[in-house]
Amino acid sequence: MIGSKVRSRSRRQFSFVPLIPGMIAWELIGRLHVSFFIPPLSEVVLVWFEILHAGKLWDALVISFETFVVGFSLALVLGLILGVMMGRYRGVEHFFDLYINTFMSAPVSALVPVLMVLFGLGIGTIVATVFMFSFFVIVVDTTTGIKSINPSLIQMARSFGGSEFQILPKVILPGALPEILTGVRLGAIRGIKGMVIGQLLIALTGLGERLVYYGNSFLIPQLYAIILTVIVFSILLIELFNFLERSLIHWKR
């Protein structure tokens, strides 16, 4: 039993190994000059350091990170609250279910112009876009997690005189934690997508502005450098959540 635990831990460690063939292929195709639009990876990396040094990338990163953190934190807090309510109270679930499912499947990108009208051409719209992208999946997974708790655990806690206020933090939330963390991780990934899409459409701030600028100027290595930045940012974030999952739910096989 202890052995299987160790195995499942090591299996989920992040590994660069699968990336190596892809990176080599990219470099080779780039060096063969197949297309102007595929520069070699090494050139992209060099350009990355250049634009980082020039300060433009750094500014774009900071502002993107800020909007992401604000939008995602709002989605996290409100998503958890609504998800817990929906998981615990059938009436709340009945009321919100249709709305949540509609927004889950709706093309949120198409709503960005509407958000722009509501929140203006600044940070507000990006924050709202991040929120719209990540909120609903957090709600859905939290609700699922709460509803999937073994009812006899709740009966057990009640039988020892536990009140709803004790049962929530001691039984329900820890029991739902695996699903909640899945929702939070998916929400974060979608939030990054939302951040980039919002910035692309507004094209005034952050990494999105850089993408549009380099794309329109045909500065292809720079364009890839920005895309790589977003990907690395996502991977770091996913790894952070994987680390959280490993340390918080060590009890799960």
């Binding site: 073994n150 039988s159 536990g162 739910i249």
Partner: protein, 255 residues
């Protein structure tokens, strides 16, 4: 400590199934003396577990009432604790915290509750496993944790819902004799739910045989085996086999 008995007065209960009410319990009238070990024996679906949950205050009867020590049961209380069929252990905390969990919910300070928990971990013979997680234990060991948790809050009445239903036969027998010893030592009133005739005879002072749909008491059977009971001399005795045969006769009639 004051010892309490349990009285069931005309308990009835129905559930809705596919939009139609199904009567689970029909006019159950039972008295359990203080300090007595009583079993409810019957086939699946006879309402044994429902009865236990009503006594535990987790379910409300449609009609009738449960009286414990002159007081009507309106919900769970410190006088009772339940051992669950599926153990109901928190998978994310270790044995020590699981055993202390009832005390934790009742606001007992950490140091004190862990000391009490250690005592009961020892009584159920799980010393050395304090910091293991439930998924590292066998079914029988997990149920020992469940029993220790129920005893740790020091209830007058222990309610056990088919506690050995999902453990293998050897474990079951060892556990039965440990439970018998513990009962002798702790002097609790026990209400025990089972579908095993041997188990009921081995452990109980009295057995209520139940029929299914609606659940009714069809026979009250007094076990005349001496105490303390040890597995070897009881299981081979004539009274034991005759009691089991008698119960089988009653249950067979119900089919």
């Amino acid at each position: 400590m004051e010892r309490l008995g349990v009285e069931l007065h005309h308990i009835s209960k129905s559930f809705e199934k596919d939009g139609r009410p199904v009567q689970v319990l029909d006019n159950l009238d039972v008295r359990n003396e203080a300090g007595e070990f009583v079993s409810f024996l019957g086939p699946s679906g006879c309402g044994k577990t429902t009865t236990l949950k009503i006594i535990g205050g987790l379910l409300e009867p449609d009609g009738g009432e449960v009286i414990i020590g002159n007081k009507r049961v309106t919900g769970p209380g410190p006088d009772r604790s339940i051992v669950f069929q599926d153990y109901a252990l928190l998978p994310w905390v270790d044995v020590l915290r699981n055993v202390a969990f009832g005390l934790e919910l009742r606001g007992v300070p950490k140091g004190e509750r862990e000391e009490i928990a250690r005592t009961y971990i020892q009584k159920v013979k799980l010393s050395g496993f304090e910091h293991h997680y439930p998924n590292e234990l066998s079914g029988g060991m997990q149920q020992r944790v469940g029993l220790a948790r129920a005893l740790a809050v020091n209830p007058q009445i222990l309610l056990m819902d088919e506690p050995f239903a999902s453990v293998d036969e050897q474990t079951r027998r060892l556990f039965q004799s440990d439970l018998s010893d513990l009962w002798q030592e702790e002097q609790k009133t026990v209400i025990f739910i089972t579908h095993s005739m041997e188990e009921a005879v081995y452990l109980s002072d009295r057995i209520f045989v139940m029929s299914a749909r609606p659940g009714r008491i069809v026979e009250e059977f007094v076990v005349h085996l001496p105490r303390p009971r040890t597995a070897q001399d009881i299981r081979g005795s004539k009274e034991f086999t005759e009691s089991v045969e008698h119960l089988w006769g009653v249950l067979r009639e119900l089919q």
